[in-house]
């Protein structure tokens, strides 16, 4: 059974058809890319999968469960995490708190325990803190635990966002342009990091990316969309040579 199966996804925003009959499946442990020119509808796919948009038509099945109509926090609780194209950290909280809050779906205590400070509260907070510190350690961010993200350089902010996504122990990680705005050296670091996450934790990763170096060296499979339609899919080498794809990226050469 695939971890994620999307079939016939269609999304309309008023008169705009952002996505038409999009289908795709991800097996457990795969590292797959989703590429396409600007405005092709890539982020729309992610927004639907993570529950942020309700699709006009079509179906998403994640871990054997249909997620249509589920609130984003419920989908997160099923084991999905994502990062954003434009970094969305909580900038007035420490890095540690950012990661800690990603455990919200598995808090283990409620309002009354928090206010009355029951033993259960301390137990749960201790577990949360430990998990958060472990993730920071793993991502080599321990040093920055008490910094505010807004004071960190861009590359580190990206890493914090990734750490936050990992704090929930996701089965599926959606990365929306993780290399955007990174220089060449940072991008190389990122490639190593993503490969390591994929190998070490058997994470299933689905990424949107524009930097071809990142896509080509990481992805086992690619799906290409343009104007909301799948125009090609397959191995990176095949996709790269597909005339449809070249046309989408470079334009029609019959000027």
């Amino acid at each position: 059974m695939p971890l994620l199966e999307i079939s016939g996804l269609t999304q309309r925003f008023g008169g705009l058809q952002a996505l038409t009959d999009f289908s795709c499946r991800l097996e457990e442990g795969e590292l797959v890319g989703l590429i396409g020119p600007n405005g092709a509808g890539k982020t729309t796919v992610f927004n639907i999968v993570s529950g942020f948009y309700k699709p006009s038509a079509g179906q998403v099945v994640f871990a054997g469960r249909e997620t249509n109509g589920l609130k984003p926090h419920r989908i997160t609780a099923l084991g999905m995490a994502r990062t954003f194209q434009n970094i969305r950290l909580w900038h007035d909280m420490t890095v540690l708190d950012n990661v800690r809050l990603a455990r919200s779906a598995w808090l283990g205590y409620g309002l009354w325990s928090a206010v009355l400070r029951t033993p259960g509260y301390f137990r749960a907070e201790k577990a949360i803190e430990k998990r958060a510190r472990d993730v920071l350690e793993m991502m080599a961010l321990t040093h920055y635990a008490d910094e505010f993200p807004k004071n960190l350089p861009y590359g580190l902010q990206r890493r914090v966002e990734l750490a936050r996504a990992l704090a929930g122990n996701p089965r599926l990680l959606l990365l929306d342009e993780p290399a955007a705005g990174l220089n060449s050296a940072d991008a190389d670091d990122l490639i190593r990091l993503i490969r390591w996450l994929h190998d070490e934790f058997k994470l299933t990763i689905w990424m949107i990316e524009h930097q071809m170096k990142v896509v080509m060296s990481l992805c086992q499979r690619l799906t290409v969309i343009d104007f909301g339609r799948v125009i090609a899919s397959g191995l990176p080498q095949e996709v790269r040579n597909s005339p449809e794809v070249i046309k989408a990226y470079l334009g029609d050469d019959t000027l």
Binding site: F52, T76, D92, A105, L107, Y109, L111, A165
Partner: protein
Amino acid sequence: MRRYTINMLLALAAVLLVLMAQTNLMDKYALQIVMLIGINCIFATSLNLVNGYMGEFSCGHAGFMCVGAYVGSLLSVAFFSDSALFGQALFGPEWALALFPLVLIGAMIAAAVAGLLVALPSFRTRDDYLAIITIAANYIVISIIENIDAIGGPRGFSGMKKTVNAMADSVNTLLDGFVGFLGFDFVVSDSDYAMSAAVVMLIWTLIGAFICVQVIRRLMTSTYGKSISAICQNEVAAEIMGINTNRAKIMAFMISSGLGGLAGVLYAHVYGYVNAQSFNLLKSTEGLVMVYLGGMGSLSGVLLAAVAFTLLVELLRFVIPWLNTTLHEVNLLPADYQLDQIWTWVIIPLMLILLMQFRPEGFLGNRELTHVFPGLKRWFTLK
């Protein structure tokens, strides 16, 4: 050790205050101001939960205070004294001291439910719209109460003094028993040392303020409560990272309005009389000034602001008449014009405007005292 310093300091201050009131070192007027400070601390810190931590703009916090004040007053009269409205007392005055917490809890629940009723329909609105809805809610509450003749309508409602007096009697009886148990031949209730009704309310106000601040501090230092700040700082990220944003918002709104109700019921019992008009938009504005003066999302800042603001308003009571006489003496004011207390309501909103112009984040703005003066961390911790 650091964990207890604040609590010990507060306990010491409370005991000192009660002793000063008890030995008449503090006169009736000063006592009144101290109680008002306590109530304003509850009012402002609870509003801060929505306007500061959650980053929404609630403009009608006094409406919830009003609900708390009226429901608390009605419960108090129904429980502890015979009245034309409810007939015979449900429990009788001898139960007043023991069951007063029930009155407080009832008022808080009523105000929290009122908060829920406002929060549910305004769920999808933000910013200006929430402000408009809360202002409307404030007016609705006042109008409803003014139009129920059974609880006094625009004349207001009273009868809570009896409850407070009954509590004072119970305290004095207990003290008598205690002194007698120690073997002294001294009757406290007949002496100058008998605890007055005002001191009883001082104690309740201090307890109320302490509980309110504790609830907010504990909530906002827990991962559970920080989800409220997460919504404020980036709602999309909060939703995606597994925070149930709707639930968190409703929870914050209900806790905020419930604690606002606590401020109301204490207010009603301190003055022994409530009138819906004392909880109008001016009162809500007072809350806003305190929150924005102290700094949104800063507990210590808002507490300091509540103290400073209450004192300032009291100070204006003396400064304005003094200005009036002085300005007339030097002939700067026309002889037939008198400066009166209404100028308080020019000065306070003016403060708010100047504050927004020159220091929009308030005194402390999202930081606590310990961030501004790191040296303080040696002495106490806010965790």
